[in-house]
């Protein structure tokens, strides 16, 4: 995936072979979905080398779920969006019309799957962090919950908000690290007003999609949309250096 993935497993005697299953799963996802690999299913689809009905069933299933999220978000999560950019950003002009980039779904889904495989193998106290997308279960030694710091977009290496969570996922979307790689699907421009969006909730796949979605919506619409989400809480860090939080965040803060 080109992302650093950190596994933190606190269960005593957890077998290396079981951890390898999770690692192998991440590599499998990367081989099939990465837009940076010319031989992945997605890259081949985007080049026209593979027809949609020739895709691996798991890839088809993912694209189907991305479409469901597109509908659920009123079009704000759209895996075609990076290819719609008319501007001079890094995504402009990439690929054939109809090309897709499901990374906003795949990353959370992959990491969520990695944690699930750890759980199936018996892990009850673990944290998986893939480049800032975090999923945790149980608690680390000597603590009742996992403490997660949300990066301060103005000051990398510093924390803006700290949360104590268990059995939860934390996904953060932002523009400050890789430049404007999230595109508003309706006006084909980078969104305005937000430095980062963090979503906290039960499932990392959804949290990742929602973080991407809210970021694309921009500060005003994004703030309204998250307030209406059930089961998911949000932290919005705006370009005017203010932080908005949904009510459920207060109980998680440390």
């Amino acid at each position: 995936m080109g992302l650093p993935v950190i596994f933190d497993i606190c269960d005593e005697g957890f077998p290396d072979a079981a951890l390898q299953v999770s690692i192998d799963w991440l590599h499998w996802v990367d081989r099939h979905f990465s837009t940076y690999r010319p031989d992945s299913q997605i890259s081949r689809l985007n080049r026209g080398d593979l027809a949609p009905d020739q895709l691996h069933p798991q890839v088809k299933a993912v694209l189907g779920r991305c479409e469901a999220f597109r509908v659920h978000t009123g079009g704000w999560f759209d895996i075609r969006a990076p290819y719609m950019a008319q501007g001079k950003g890094p995504e402009a002009g990439r690929g054939r019309p109809g090309s897709v980039d499901p990374s906003g779904y795949v990353k959370g889904w992959a990491v969520s799957g990695a944690m699930r495989r750890l759980n199936v193998a018996g892990a009850k106290n673990a944290c998986v962090n893939a480049g800032g997308d975090v999923v945790v279960c149980g608690h680390p030694d000597g603590d009742s919950a996992w403490r997660i710091g949300i990066q301060n977009p103005r000051s990398p290496g510093e924390i803006a908000v700290a949360l104590a969570v268990t059995d939860a996922a934390v996904a953060t979307s932002g523009a400050y690290a890789r430049g404007q790689h999230i595109i508003d699907p309706f006006n084909q421009r980078p969104p305005e007003g937000l430095l980062s969006v963090t979503i906290v909730g039960p499932d990392l796949t959804a949290a990742d999609v929602y973080a991407t979605t809210v970021f694309a919506m921009g500060a005003q619409r994004g703030a309204q949309w998250v307030a209406g989400l059930d089961d998911y809480e949000a932290i919005l860090i705006r370009a005017d250096d203010t932080v908005l939080t949904t009510p459920g965040i207060a109980a998680l803060r440390i």
Partner: protein
């Protein structure tokens, strides 16, 4: 620009699922639907229920024009606002926007150092 927005109440999902209200529930309860975002803006419907009777419906509509139309405004769910500042909390791990591998590891190390882990 004025638009008429057809809203079928049955199509909205309410934040409180259908509940059987006890006969004594005489106080009005408000159920707020999710904010529905569309290209032109969005809408949120709120209904007040007393017993089993809907006593009022209010709709907040927001359009993507400088002037927003509020048919009967409802308080948009309350987000807490505060200034961005750095926390010195003691943390185990770190969530931020996707970075390069090196930058992520550096940031994580730096944050953990500051948190004295």
């Amino acid at each position: 620009m004025r638009r008429s927005i057809p809203l079928a109440l049955g199509a909205l999902s309410l934040s409180a699922s259908t509940v059987a209200l006890p006969a004594e529930a005489l106080a009005a309860t408000t159920y707020k639907g999710a904010f529905y975002s569309e290209r032109w803006g969005g809408a949120q419907v709120s209904i007040k229920v007393k017993g089993k009777k809907i006593t009022s419906i209010s709709v907040y509509v927001q359009q993507d024009t400088p002037r927003s139309i509020q048919l009967d405004s409802v308080a948009i769910p309350y987000l807490k606002q505060e200034a961005l500042k750095s926390s010195s909390a003691n943390i185990h791990t770190y969530s931020g926007a996707t970075t390069t591998s090196e930058a992520f590891i550096d940031s994580l190390k730096s944050a953990l150092n500051k948190a004295h882990i």
